[in-house]
């Protein structure tokens, strides 16, 4: 039985390495052109090459998003680019513009074509059309329910990729150009200004509907944490995490939690740790729901007023090394913490643990009461051996 793939976003080469380190089976990345996150750092050609080499060494795959809706002016250098990334051995491209299938055929390119969620594939007949035309995998529209997914798999036997966690579009993907109209930024070429996060006044003719509650169409985030087993049983091939613009800490947290759950299911000891739910919520600091998985979203799947999005400073530092002789963690600080704080340490494919900070030493070995300079290298005592690239966060589990 093939294990389901855990597919993580990577906004740049650093995030690619973190995602793979923390357990992603595959990552999706974007080049500086042709990608829907036009304002992310993204990858240069050299970085794509390096990312693929790193991923393949670690038995992971790299999918490159070529998912803008192309205008005439965007097509000029596309063939040359696709030939180049094929030479780098990328495993697939994720695209919504199906003319690229002709380019793949013309040049006999090796990578697979995965149809982007931007095409909003919701049914088996559409899936069959794409299957007949050499689409190897479909990233389903996020509006599909559990029953839709089951039916599409049963009727097409198609490789399906399903979003399991992250922010949602308000509209059918690719069918929202609010950004174009309200800000002149082209949403289908990576310029989305996230109009669905704005608030508006709603009127009936000239009568304001409600002066206390702004009209908004912002969806809460999606999390299918509690449905992973069902999705595996349905035969979904790949679980996708949203968020190429998200931080390393977010990525490591989300990937490690889903990695653990998937592995536990295949090992026969499926259970969900309440602490994982808490960690998932805190790292994005947005409410999550199942969205379309079990029913059509109601008012409970939307944000109106009363939503708080205070940024937290949970992420305290990155482990650089472990001094076995002195039983000390050598870390690079990210956010403020102090002596006597309770912290939690987690790392790739291991159980997290908590401890109280007995002391903090600076680089010269001086004991200091608190860590207040991000990027500063510090030492704290710990009797449990930790590894480079483990992450340190506030212990918020009590």
């Amino acid at each position: 039985m093939n294990k389901v793939e855990l597919l993580a976003p990577a906004g740049d080469l650093e995030r690619l390495k973190w995602a793979i380190l923390y357990g992603a089976d595959a990552v999706y990345i974007g080049y500086q052109n042709y990608s829907l996150r036009a304002n992310a750092k993204n990858f240069s050609l050299d970085e794509i090459k390096e990312g693929v080499i790193f991923a393949h060494k670690n038995n992971a795959k790299v999918y490159v998003t070529v998912n803008i809706i192309f205008h005439q002016e965007d097509i000029k250098d596309l063939e040359e680019y696709l030939i180049k990334i094929d030479e780098y051995n990328v495993d697939a491209i994720i695209s919504s513009d199906i003319f690229i299938l002709d380019i793949i055929k013309k040049h006999n390119l090796k990578f697979e074509f995965h149809l982007s969620t931007q095409m909003s594939t919701l049914n088996s007949e559409a899936a069959l059309f794409f299957k007949k035309n050499n689409v190897k995998r479909i990233v389903l529209g996020r509006e599909t329910s559990k029953n839709d997914i089951k039916n599409i798999i049963d009727k097409t036997n198609m490789d399906l990729e399903v979003f399991i966690h992250g922010a949602m579009c308000m509209a059918y993907s690719g069918r929202c150009t609010l950004s174009n109209y309200l800000t002149n930024r082209d949403s289908n070429r990576g310029g989305c200004a996230q109009i669905c996060r704005w608030v508006f006044d709603l009127y009936d003719e000239k009568k304001l509907i409600d002066k206390n509650t702004k009209f908004s169409f912002s969806p809460k985030d999606q999390s299918l944490l509690k449905n992973i087993r069902e999705l595996i049983d349905l035969g979904v091939k790949s679980f996708k995490i949203e968020g190429r613009m998200k931080s390393v800490y977010y990525l490591a947290t989300i990937v490690s939690i889903y990695r653990k759950i998937i592995d536990n299911i295949y090992n026969g000891n499926y259970s969900i740790d309440e602490n994982d739910i808490k960690a998932l919520y805190r790292c994005a600091n947005r409410d999550t729901t199942m969205q379309y998985f079990d029913k059509k979203p109601t008012e409970n799947e939307q944000y109106y007023i009363g939503r708080e999005e205070n940024t937290n400073q949970d992420f305290l530092g990155v482990v650089l090394d472990y001094d076995e002789k002195n039983k000390e963690i050598i870390l690079e600080e990210r956010n403020y913490f102090k002596v006597n704080d309770k912290i939690n340490i987690f790392g790739p494919k291991k159980e997290s643990f908590s401890l109280k900070v007995e002391y903090i030493k600076d680089e010269e070995g001086n004991k200091i009461p608190c860590a207040r300079h991000p990027k500063e290298v510090l030492r704290i005592p710990c009797t449990i051996k930790v590894s480079k690239n483990d992450l340190i966060r506030i212990d918020f589990f009590d």
């Binding site: 097509i75 919701l122 839709d148 609010l178 174009n180 070429r189 509650t213 908004s216 939307q302």
Partner: protein, 299 residues
């Protein structure tokens, strides 16, 4: 020769279009189409066709929704009915329709209603292999892009030149959900929402899906000659929320424009007629406005 397409009104009003010059009616099928003033029940189709035949107009059926799995069986029945009624132009947005009509060996005109996605010639040429020979272009591209696409495809292109523009489609019941949240009754399906910062109004309509529309009305009559000269095959005039009588004046203005395509002064006068009949709330959309997508490019 550029032709004019308009939406089909309800059965009683079809005859009002008798003395107006245009080429084809677009029909939406109840439950399988969206963003129409009037929907045709599939069992009424024959009656509509009889009326339209009296006016000697072409018929286009636009199946312009995205469909969920549970709708596919009904969709197949509708398509069978369209084929049985010898419909010569079937439009699709969801690829399920293309797959089904290809499987049914439908050999008439297939129209891709691209809903924002018809932005380049390569995609259109790809679809041409599957029988797609008419394309409703994106309403978010420039005149130069339209012309470039037209020059690089073997398909007919359709350009919307008048009407409220569809900005987005959501499968969420955004109005119903909001009214539930504020514990008030939703009395209708169409409301206005205001961008508070820019004090600008837009429309939201709830059908099966929630549809976001411009409140301003697209009017590109002043671009008619350029599109005509570049052999744009069809223009589409959309009557949604436009007064019935005034819309007939709009059809006449565009039709007169096509018949007097080189008379700049006359077209300018026609443009004023269109504006008056639209209460001056018109704009040019993106024909003369290029979008940007990198923050660095944003002025």
């Amino acid at each position: 020769m550029t032709k004019i397409l308009v939406n089909c009104p309800n059965l009683k009003r079809i005859n009002e279009y008798k003395n107006h010059s245009f080429d084809g009616f677009i029909l939406g099928i109840e439950g399988y189409s969206e963003n129409f003033n009037n929907y045709v029940k599939i069992n009424e189709l024959q009656t509509y066709l009889n009326e339209i035949n009296k006016l000697n107009k072409d018929v286009y059926i636009f199946l312009n929704k995205l469909y969920f799995e549970e709708e596919i069986s009904g969709l197949k029945d509708v398509i069978k009915e369209l084929i049985n009624n010898n419909i010569t132009n079937i439009g699709f947005t969801d690829y399920s329709v293309l797959n089904i009509i290809n499987d049914m060996k439908y050999d008439k005109n297939i129209v891709w209603i691209s809903n924002h996605l018809g932005t380049n010639s390569n995609t259109i040429n790809y679809l041409n292999k599957f029988g797609v020979n008419k394309v409703f272009l994106s309403t978010e591209i420039t005149k130069d892009e339209i012309i470039s696409i037209k020059n690089n495809v073997n398909c007919n292109v359709i350009v919307k030149m008048y009407g409220h523009l569809l900005m987005a489609t959501s499968s969420r019941k955004l109005l119903s959900n909001y009214f539930k949240y504020i514990n008030k009754n939703k009395d209708k399906d169409l409301y206005t929402f205001k961008d508070i910062v820019k004090n600008k109004d837009y429309l939201i309509k709830e059908e099966d899906n929630s549809l976001f529309l411009t409140k301003d009305v697209l009017n590109d009559l002043l671009f008619l000659k350029e599109l005509y000269d570049n052999k744009v095959d069809y223009i589409y005039l959309d009557d949604y929320l436009i007064d019935d009588k005034k819309f007939l004046n709009i059809i006449d203005a565009y039709s007169d424009g096509l018949n007097n395509i080189d008379d700049v002064d006359f077209i300018n006068k026609l443009n004023e007629v269109v504006k008056i009949n639209t209460e001056n709330n018109t704009f040019n959309g993106f024909l003369d406005k290029k979008t940007v997508f990198r923050v660095n490019d944003y002025e």
